[in-house]
């Protein structure tokens, strides 16, 4: 596993783990012309992907300057031209954004949902992984894994559809309750329980997938530790506490960091699909706010300001979390940052 972990991205900071075994640079001193002749095919191979990212990732990233402009879509024949031609207005869009109470509602909803999911649902894949790992029969275990990984590959439209058909007002559960004389209530449209609903949907979709990384970490734990603990008289619970959980610690911290960095992001499609059924008050999150303000109301400047605000906070959060992880002596997110 450690070999997959270090992707070699940011090497500026001395890494607490030894860097991936990389071949020593060959003939680094040779002239530029010689290196060009030797490596131009490699550069040619890299070019298409780099070009696509340049156009569809980096250019729109620069396009975020629209957040600092008074965007007028008629000031150019294309949107890009219009961005360039629109006048700079400094932080006016941000000031407008921060005065919008709907923005604060969206921010509050987002934070409430991510915090709720972190507290109640983060531990569940760990528990499921430990449970799966204890299944002795390999065939049974791989069958369960096949089934529980599957929903990860479903689109959000499909997941929400399943929930509507199972738990919605006309769904299987409501039918069964009605058949047994209980008056069902429609979870799919109830704003009060929306936070539980979306968390359950995310759980259904990804709890199985979430176990993969913990299962890998579990198999990396030295089995002789368990044997030694058992011969010292530790029962299964004490072995869980003193061997298994410490063995999972680096992965848990890594994933917590990622979660922290994502605490302003809660799946986009999931919310846009359900926002109208539940109501804006409970279901508006930052991403849907950006969409409705920016593209539906066509207030591009303020919408982009909201998006930029979210991205900036997310970046700061992940850098802080990474720093914290180093302070705790963990290796942090070298893959991501």
């Amino acid at each position: 596993m450690s070999s997959t972990k270090v992707a070699g991205p940011v090497q500026a900071r001395p890494s607490p783990v030894p860097p991936a075994p990389e071949a020593p640079p060959k003939r680094n001193r040779s002239s530029f012309a010689a290196r060009w002749r030797r490596d131009r095919v490699l550069l040619l191979m890299t070019a298409p992907a780099a070009l696509l990212l340049l156009v569809f990732h980096y250019i729109p990233t620069l396009g975020n300057i629209v957040a600092f402009k008074d965007y007028d879509q008629w000031s150019g024949s294309t949107a890009v031209e219009a961005i360039v031609n629109s006048p700079w207005i400094g932080f006016t869009n941000f000031a407008e954004l921060f005065e919008d109470s709907q923005f604060w509602d969206a921010l509050r909803n987002t934070l409430a949902i991510t915090t709720f999911q972190l507290v109640f649902f983060f531990p569940l894949p760990i528990a499921l992984a430990i449970l799966l790992n204890s299944v002795v029969s390999r065939r049974l275990r791989s069958f369960i894994q096949t089934v529980v990984y599957l929903p990860h590959f479903f689109s959000w439209v499909l997941v929400v559809t399943f929930f509507v058909q199972m738990l919605g007002g006309a769904g299987l559960l409501a039918q069964t309750l009605r058949d047994n004389g209980v008056q069902p209530w429609d979870v799919m449209t109830d704003p009060d329980t929306f936070i539980v609903l979306v968390s359950t949907e995310s759980l259904w979709k990804d709890v199985g997938w979430g176990t993969i990384v913990f299962l890998a970490a579990l198999t990396a734990i030295d089995q002789s530790l368990y044997e030694a603990a058992a011969s010292d008289g530790a029962n299964r619970w004490r072995r869980l506490w003193h061997v298994t959980l410490p063995g999972l610690r680096p992965v848990v911290i890594l994933l917590l960091i990622l979660q922290l960095g994502n605490s302003l992001s809660v799946g986009f499609e999931q919310f846009i699909l359900q926002r109208d059924a539940v109501g804006r008050q409970a279901a508006e999150v930052l991403d849907t706010y950006v969409y409705y303000l920016g593209l539906v109301t066509q207030d591009y400047g303020v919408g982009a300001a909201a998006g930029l605000f979210k991205a900036a906070i997310g970046l700061v959060l992940i850098l802080i979390a990474n720093k914290l992880a180093h302070r705790f002596g963990e290796q942090g997110v070298f893959v991501k940052s």
Binding site: F153, V157, L158, R178, A220, Q223, V290
Partner: protein, 305 residues
């Protein structure tokens, strides 16, 4: 990467105490509940889609116990053209997109797999920074429309074509291939293209399959970008049709303009469920073939993104 497959214990080690009955019971119940939570909805949707109107009326909605087999719902959606057209378009997008994505990703992963090559470090950084800094919705939308891609299916493909994360996974795998192998081919006079095609790729089928699945699923499941860029009902893809058939009924003010459904009355439950099955089937068919590669450790690295 091997410990994942290696250390599956074939049997219970001798020092472990025998399982308690109640422990086994709890474990069995929890695991069955998790498995059933996935299977029951899929089962019920499938059964309802092949049930007759009468069976659905008798059940009062979703059918759980199969009876009265009837495939008229499928006949209907495939003769109406709206669903089959959208499924066809989704398949084309998925095929073209996956081909483009895999091509670019594999080539770039190989191009970046040799530390010390010209501009290796800055190029790698160029790809990795995309993890941390993203364009955001509004600028992306403005760019795609500026390029004239609105109402074109390329708007679904090009912005999503290269995922730096998949690239890192493939590159990592390529870098694990013994250098001697490549060097000997080079001594024999093979160029980079030949090395990639004849040595590296044949050794990397598993990782290419998994990354291909990631891309394909991404394209097949693409919904929101389709809502953003495809406004004509004639261009709609499968996920949009699924949303229109099922969820739009639930939320009348559904996003985008609800497309003309081609039905004067709302589609019957069997027809709705048949659409669900049609959207679901490709994933359920392709997934098991790729799933056996997951344990190769590809995913253990992949999941961290």
């Amino acid at each position: 990467m091997s410990p994942l497959t290696k250390s599956r214990r074939p049997e219970r080690p001798s020092w472990e105490e025998p399982p308690t009955l109640i422990g086994q019971l709890i474990k069995g119940t929890v695991l069955s509940a998790v498995v059933l939570a996935v299977l029951i909805p899929m089962w019920s949707v499938l059964v309802t889609s092949v049930s007759s109107k009468k069976a659905i009326a008798d059940a009062g909605g979703m059918v759980f116990m199969p009876r009265d087999f009837d495939i008229s719902a499928y006949v209907l959606i495939f003769t109406r053209g709206e669903v089959s057209g959208a499924v066809w378009r989704s398949m084309l997008v998925t095929l073209a997109g996956t081909a483009l994505s895999l091509g670019c990703t594999v080539l770039a992963a190989y191009g970046l797999s040799r530390p010390g090559s010209l501009w290796h470090r800055p190029l790698l950084l160029f790809f990795l920074i995309t993890f941390l800094v993203g364009p955001g919705l509004i600028p992306s939308y403005l760019l795609v429309t500026s390029l004239g891609l609105k109402d074109s299916h390329w708007a679904l493909i090009l912005p999503a074509a290269v995922n730096a994360f998949n690239l890192v996974v493939v590159r990592q795998f390529f870098m694990g291939i013994p250098a001697e192998l490549l060097d000997s081919a080079r001594i024999d006079g093979a160029g980079e293209w030949a090395i990639l095609g004849r040595i590296v790729l044949p050794l990397s089928k598993a990782v290419v399959a998994v990354v291909g699945l990631f891309y394909a699923v991404g394209y097949w499941n693409m919904y929101f970008n389709a809502v953003l860029y495809l406004n004509n009902a004639d261009d709609h893809v499968a996920q949009q049709v699924l949303q229109a058939y099922i969820l739009a009924g639930q939320s009348p003010a559904g996003i985008g303009s609800p497309p003309a459904l081609g039905f004067s009355a709302p589609p019957s439950l069997a027809v709705k469920m048949a659409v669900v099955v049609v959207v679901l089937i490709p994933i359920v068919i392709v997934y098991p073939f790729i799933q056996r590669h997951f344990t190769k450790g590809v995913i253990a690295g992949a999941i961290k993104g």
